[in-house]
């Protein structure tokens, strides 16, 4: 168990709802859910969630900490915002889902082989490097994120897509070697570091 996880369990002994309120983006909204189920019904990938949003909120209230944080459910969110516009209580569900995913990741509880988790981490690391996304390296890393053998298979499968994009001048193989990105790279790193610091301090107080 990560030290962060141990600390959280200690601090919020038996009150997962309070823990979510203090640590998850927009987590204070979770208690306002009235269990109508419109979110679950509106989600385009709804059937793929082990626990759709309505159920996740209920599980949080019921203190099912481990099941929620180790679940791959919230990683199914495509950010389509259907739930947000239809929720009669106005819960910012998309953000709560992302927040839960991020929190689970921070505690080291997110399922390691969850593909969207891997991709999301790749994406962030990629953009933070230069301040802008290097689409080509992102694509290659995506192919190989499940290991070398898988990577070769995926690359072959998607070869025609890749070639098509290169032909259409919408993918730059040269980016593998050199990618400009932002001039203010260092500034961006400082900003992000500071933001991280402030956020950590906040959650330790709650």
């Amino acid at each position: 168990m990560s030290t962060a996880n141990v600390a959280a369990i200690e601090a919020y002994r038996n009150n997962f709802l309070k823990e979510v309120e203090g640590n998850v983006e927009e987590g204070e909204w979770v208690k306002m859910c009235m269990q109508c189920g419109v979110c679950s019904g509106s989600c385009p990938l709804g059937s793929a969630w082990a626990h759709p949003p309505q159920e996740l909120f209920m599980m949080i209230r019921a203190g099912k900490r481990e099941e929620v944080l180790t679940s791959d459910s919230m990683w199914m969110c495509t950010s389509c915002y259907n739930c947000i516009v239809r929720c009669p209580r106005g819960l910012p569900i998309t953000h709560i889902m992302h927040g839960l995913a991020h929190y689970a990741e921070r505690l080291g509880l997110a399922p390691k082989n969850q593909p969207t988790r891997k991709f999301s981490l790749l994406f962030w690391d990629n953009l933070v490097k230069t301040g802008r996304v290097n689409e080509t390296t992102l694509g290659i890393k995506l192919y190989f994120m499940n290991g070398f053998v898988e990577g070769v298979k995926t690359a072959l499968k998607n070869a025609s897509i890749g070639l098509g994009l290169v032909k259409a001048k919408r993918m730059n193989p040269m980016s593998l070697i050199a990618h400009k990105g932002c001039k203010g790279k260092a500034d961006i790193h400082k900003i992000i570091a500071k933001a991280r610091e402030i956020e950590q301090a906040k959650t330790q107080q709650k």
Binding site: T78, S120, V128, A168
Partner: protein, 299 residues
């Protein structure tokens, strides 16, 4: 028409040789026709899109977007921030509204920005290019410039998720927004009358991580247009364009369909309708060629 100026946020995919570089090409041609000057925000950074959350978290993401907006305030003062990418627009606008509502978050964000000597005041609105077209110009004015009406084309207006929800364009309904259809009509083509998959999610970033699930949805989107006799699909979002275009071969293999449906940007349609050639409209960037559109452009 008097020249209109905007502070411009292109986004990562619109970069030269990026996955939506063809979008940028037609946007430039379109702005040329409409006498719009786009002042690119200097040294803009990635918005984080909707997939950066695992590594990002709340405040870092807000700070990233705030940097762009602060740079805009600094270098393009008093200009509306306009984005052509749906995710960039959504992230930037959400950031602005969140910081306006929550003064504590605003304080914290500016603390982070201070590390780079920046400060964000949240004064200028953040808009999508289609909003600018509809609100600042209007369908009538847009129609006036049409030299080659797109006659004989039946075009499915695929609005998708993020230009539609949660903000919506021009006050239209979330469940059945009509703005792409109205635009298509303005340009002289025929929109679909009941395109049920008009606001169906394409999977977004999950097209990369969960291809099967995403392609099942994409199949429905293309099939619905195909069944109603559409010649092509038009879209305002780079990831929608990519997702609905490049996986059609794989979908055909999986489902036995015979899709070969071109997916173009609204700016490409406009560029052609305004009389420019296929290259200016970025049509050579199509993986599935939009032959019928090219024909009109070549006339």
């Amino acid at each position: 028409m008097a020249k209109k100026e905007y502070s411009f946020y292109p986004g990562c995919s619109s970069e030269k040789m990026g996955s939506a570089s063809n979008y940028m090409t037609s946007v430039n041609a379109m702005c040329d026709e409409l006498d719009i000057k786009l002042n690119e925000i200097p040294d803009w950074n990635c918005c984080g899109a909707s997939i950066g959350y695992a590594g990002g978290g709340e405040l870092p993401r807000l700070a990233l977007n705030a940097r762009n907006l602060a740079l805009s305030e600094q270098h393009n003062p008093n200009q509306d921030v306009v984005a052509t990418c749906a995710a960039c627009w959504l992230s930037a606008r959400e950031t602005r509204e969140r910081l306006q509502e929550d003064s504590q978050l605003m304080k914290e964000t500016n603390l982070a920005l201070a590390e780079a000597g920046l400060n964000y005041k949240a004064e200028q609105p953040v808009r999508h290019m289609v909003e600018v077209l509809i609100e600042d110009f209007g369908y009538e004015a847009l129609g006036e410039k049409v030299k080659k009406p797109l006659e004989g084309l039946k075009i499915a207006g695929y609005v998708g998720c993020q230009t539609n929800r949660p903000f919506g364009i021009d006050g239209e309904s979330f469940e059945n927004p009509m703005y792409l259809d109205k635009l298509v009509e303005t340009l002289g083509a025929e929109p679909l009358t009941s395109y049920e998959k008009k606001v169906q999610c394409c999977g977004g970033a999950l097209a990369f991580s969960e291809p099967e699930k995403s392609q099942a949805m994409i199949k429905d989107i293309v099939e619905s247009a195909y069944d109603q006799g559409a010649d092509m699909i038009v879209t305002p979002c780079p990831v929608c364009q990519l997702n609905t275009e490049v996986y059609q071969d794989q979908i055909n293999k999986t489902y036995g369909t015979k899709f070969n449906m071109p997916v173009v940007y609204y700016s490409a349609l406009m560029t052609v309708a305004y009389g420019q050639d296929a290259k200016a409209a970025g049509l050579d960037g199509q993986v599935i060629k939009a032959r019928k559109l090219e024909a009109i452009a070549g006339k």
